[in-house]
Amino acid sequence: MIKRLTIAERQTAMLLSVLIALAGFAMAVIGRGDPMGVHGWIVLILAGALFFALASALYEPEPTEDRAVSYYDDPTKVGILLTLVWAVAGMGMGVWVAAQLAWPDLRFDAAWSSFGRIRPVHTSGVIFGFGGNALIATSFHIMQRTSRARMAGHISPWFVLLGFNLFCIIAATGYLMGVTQSKEYAEPEWYADIWLVIVWIVYFVLYIRTLARRNEPHIYVANWYYLAFILVVAVLHIVNNLAVPASFGAAKSYSAFSGVQDAMTQWWYGHNAVAFFLTAGFLGMLYYFLPKRAERPIYSYRLSILSFWGITFFYIWAGSHHLHYTAVPEWVQTLGMTFSVMLLVPSWASAGNALMTLNGAWHKVRDDATLRFMMVAAVFYGLSTFEGSFMAIRPVNSLSHYTDWTVGHVHAGAMGWVALITFGSIYALVPVLWRKQTMYSWKLVEWHFWLALGGTVVYVFAMWNSGITQGLMWRTYTESGTLAYSFTDTLVKMHPYYIARAIGGAMFFVGAVIGAFNVVMTIRSVGHQAQQLDYPTGSEANEPAVPAAE
């Protein structure tokens, strides 16, 4: 990988890693005695290791091939492998977290291993580690193919990918040490947040510069979604993480907002992290890999436009449905509910557009598990957006909120939609990237598919049952007008569902391990095959980057 950079690029990369290592050293010194100091050492060691790796290859011969005639896929390859590492780590953590609720003694007695500390390791591990790496890696692939141009730069993609993973590592290790802002899905403290802003700006510049090089007059749909993902996540991240550190030598900071305003800002962030991280970016993935794999053009361009702008405009309003019946003013709750319901239109337009694209290719869905991953993902996307709009209605929310129903809903989206579209895309992408004939084993892809689908269904049904049961028990009154059940009564009822949930999660996790194994074996032992037309070209005479609309 390093040998494919010029010597000047290697030197730039070394300079950057020295700067980051120095920043790490400064953190280690200033923050000694605080978790921030430990983070400083982690940064120093990782950046130092990168520096020595670069230094040892500094005087290797320069690359001789003409770069303009090929895509730059090295960062994508590393990104895909990191996605799989985080998948196994994050989902494994999820199984442990779930098991702790069924058998609380699995917490053991260390401070770091309690539910409260490892739960964010699971959520950040799968959302940012697994999901974020998948988004970055696939966006690198798609931005080049749909622009028919090589990426703009050789250092910046590595900076984005490795910088983002450094953020994830700081986040996950921080939670274990008790470093958290307590804002869900925005837990990392101020220095990690500042670092992510820098990485994100470089990501945006890289994306725009690559689009500027394109040999296609139009920007393909997938890129609209990736752009929305990059831009809006930046805005959400910066606003929600505004905080004042208690000391510049320690991790602890206090949010700039309090009470009602903080709650609204947090759930404006929280719900739009779902919208622009877990939906927009993955729709970009869907809009590229599904038509490619099915070899069918997107069903409707008009529908794509409608759903894209609908999602971008409506989602921002929906956050307050997390705050029904709370101290947030009622007009805000009503706005949130209204827009959440309207959101169903663009969401189903996207899901429908994806499924209609498969018309004429349904026999492929039957035979090809990779395409089936994508099809089922689109179905789960439709189901969970319907469920989401439904749960945002105030009276429904009065039953579902604070219960496992919410957890089940999130996992229908996260497992059924986000993870399935990601795995489908990975199986479609790996042979292309590594120039292989096929995946190592199609039977293992089948196994993964059925384990993932089965695990999701078991998980979601368990959580529906426990959530609705608990919600109903909380509101049941005796004939004399007193509450019928104590809180502990409901816990007893939850126990079997918590066991079922852990089993469902474990099935999903085993599927991910099989997937990682399959990818590694594909890279190691499947024969070479160059892909047709997979290089930048300015000529319209060649095949279009994606199947053209009819």
Partner: protein, 259 residues
Amino acid sequence: MFRTLLGPFARFFEFHAKTHYRAERHSMALAGGILLAASIGGFIEIAPLFTIDDTVEAAPDMRLYTPLEQAGRDIYIREGCYACHSQMIRTLQDDVDRYGPYSLAAESKYDHPMLWGSKRTGPDLARVGEKYSDDWQVRHLADPRALVPESVMPQYAFLLDTPLETESLPGRLAALRAVGVPYSDAQIANAASDAFGQAMPDSDRAGGVLDRYGEETNLRIFDGRRDRLTEMDALVAYLQILGGLTDLAARTQPARGEN
């Protein structure tokens, strides 16, 4: 009929699609459009919460967290208690009957960040203060299943043996003042001493706590250990003040069935 009703929509979508067709050939036009579309909701729905005065009720009697309680709050956050416990009683009859008067906006106006929570794996804690004794809280935190066999809560016995770090407290209170909590200079300067004094009522540092935070402040040995100030002291002090910073809710919401 349908035609006239749907006409404006059809014209809007036609215009929208044409505009988009032009925009998708310019990456920055697309980027600008995305930012514009995504910011409208935030401006209309969130910005007014900072400007409309009656969003948060006036609560003149409200007191601040003492340094010990704030330290406990920071431990509550550190251990991720918010992942399983909400601090927000909704305006639903069963919520009120189970947990007490529904939560008011004013009650969390000094909470940076708020800890309303999103999931009740355990019960709501917005008004758990003084519901149980200090001794019950300490024993429950150390081994929840010894007191509640059905509980799935993690045990936190290590808090009893971890001395509370108080050196950083003045910095913490100063940061909170920077974001809007009205701590005085004296409260910030004496934060470490006040944290010790609140949990050691026999010591000479106890008097200052009452001077600075009011006569109603809980002055107790929270963790049952006279020999040292532990993280358990701080966490229990925090739990015991939850719902007790102001009695506005109790005053404005008459209890059901009491007349």
